[in-house]
Amino acid sequence: MYFFRPDQISYKMILKHRNIFSSFWGARIFIVVSILISSLLLTSFSADTDEPSSDKLGVQVPPPPFSEDIFPCSDCHDEEQPTNPNRRELEEEHEDLVLKHDEENRWCLDCHSPIDRDSLRLANGTHIGFEVSYKLCGQCHGPKLRDWKAGVHGKRTGSWNGAKQYLLCAHCHNPHQPAFKPITPLPAPFRPSEIRLNK
């Protein structure tokens, strides 16, 4: 018999696994975890709420994937190199940088700060560091950011029950051309007819 489509089945499974948490121990764990979380929130509110959320997640994020010698940007972007807010083809520098990311509606200074080039700038004017660039992306890709924080979009390495390493969006997506580039696959397996037994 075949009553369910896969998507319905999945719902069934979700319910099933929910039951785990409604059990005696599940309820207890829930209480303990909520107390822990709320105390965490309380302490972090008094501190800097803009703390990289990777700290709260208990994961480490490797440094941003800058090309060599590009950071700090302020090495060049100082008083002698004033910000030019005009949309244009860059010729003196960054000339191979092509924007293919909703480019009709976007320009460099939507993301990079015009007054402090070593920072990114959110839509509300807040400056953030490159090590938390996911906050910038999350402004427009909210659901993806939520999945990323849960470890579902993007990649975690390390320990499934302990310390984890997390990749930034920028490790996989070039912010200027975020579509994932095709890559060369590793060799196909042999067909059974191609496999010879060694002697």
Partner: protein, 305 residues
């Protein structure tokens, strides 16, 4: 498989089997045993199923294996025998909307698990199918060969052992050499396997592989960090398959395929932990399982992220 691939029965299984036959007919068996010169033969012959071994017996076996492997590969091995973790149900989730078919997982697995290069064994097969048709296994092939992936209009689906809760392979094993361990990993005691291959016939996912010849893993860079039920060097005539990298996961690490995946499509964790990635996925995503109509109840979920 053609006829010339049909193997002679395995040395080990053969000796056990022919011994029992001969011993039944012609006792005492002592002269027969003394004819065997192979080192450790007696120990191996009388070794119990892994499940029934005491800690002391495990220690002895592990030590013997470590010596054997060191002799063969010229490197120091560790053979772990960690039991199933308490309060853990391992599960896997794979995001089909990310997978690009690059096969990095396949070869990450080969290296981690000391899979045979010749003859070739892969525990993971990445199937390619038409994007338009959705998951349609009838037109799927693992033999695709493109310059770049993902290929236009194609979708990819890696398949490996699904670690079923209701695993047909463990039920057909006549000697209980394969079973579902308490943390949810379907394991094989290679020393207990008699090579009958019933489990291969029973598995609906093609996840089990037989060593028709003596497996030859890469000697350079062989992984010496092993587990008795996992990636220790295997012998001719036994069945093997994905073990969720038992040698890694029982020590808290992610499986090798999770770490090898460049797009982060592979997720692994503890179903009993509500904070784990797999729990999040079951709660928030639509998941499906392969061939659910067979009631194998896999702990390997596919989803679209």
């Amino acid at each position: 498989m053609t006829d010339k691939h049909t193997p002679k029965t395995t040395t080990k299984a053969c000796s056990r089997r022919s011994f029992l036959k001969t011993a039944g007919k012609a006792l005492p068996a002592v002269p027969l045993l003394s004819m065997q010169t192979e080192a450790g033969f007696l120990e191996r012959f009388f070794q119990k199923n892994f499940k029934e071994l005491s800690t002391r017996e495990k220690d002895q076996i592990v030590k013997r294996l470590e010596q054997e492997y060191e002799k063969e590969y010229g490197k120091k091995f560790t053979v772990g025998a960690e039991p199933a973790l308490k309060g853990v149900q391992f599960a896997y989730a794979l995001d089909l909307s990310r997978c690009i078919g690059c096969r990095k997982c396949v070869y990450g697995c080969v290296t981690e698990n000391n899979l045979s290069i010749d003859p070739q064994i892969h525990w993971i097969r990445v199937l390619e199918m038409d994007e338009e048709e959705g998951v349609n296994l009838h037109n799927a092939t693992p033999y695709y060969n493109h310059k770049k992936v993902p290929a236009e209009g194609k979708a990819y689906m890696p398949v490996q052992c699904q670690h079923c809760r209701n695993a047909p392979c463990t039920k057909v094993c006549p000697v209980q050499a394969t079973w579902l361990d308490d943390d949810g990993i379907v394991v094989i005691d290679y020393d207990w396997c008699i090579g009958c291959r019933y489990c291969i016939a029973a598995c609906p996912y093609g996840a089990r592989h037989f060593n028709w010849a003596k497996p030859k893993p890469k000697r350079e860079g062989i992984n010496t960090n092993t587990h008795y039920l996992g990636n220790r060097p295997r012998m001719k005539g036994v069945v093997e398959k994905c073990t969720f990298c038992v040698q890694r996961t029982r020590k808290g690490k992610y499986p090798a395929c999770v770490e090898a995946c460049p797009v982060g499509a592979r997720k692994f964790g503890n179903l009993l932990d509500p904070e784990s990635e797999v729990s999040y996925i079951l709660k928030h995503k639509r998941v499906f399982i392969l061939k659910e109509e067979l009631n194998t109840q896999p702990k390997f979920y596919y989803f679209y992220g």
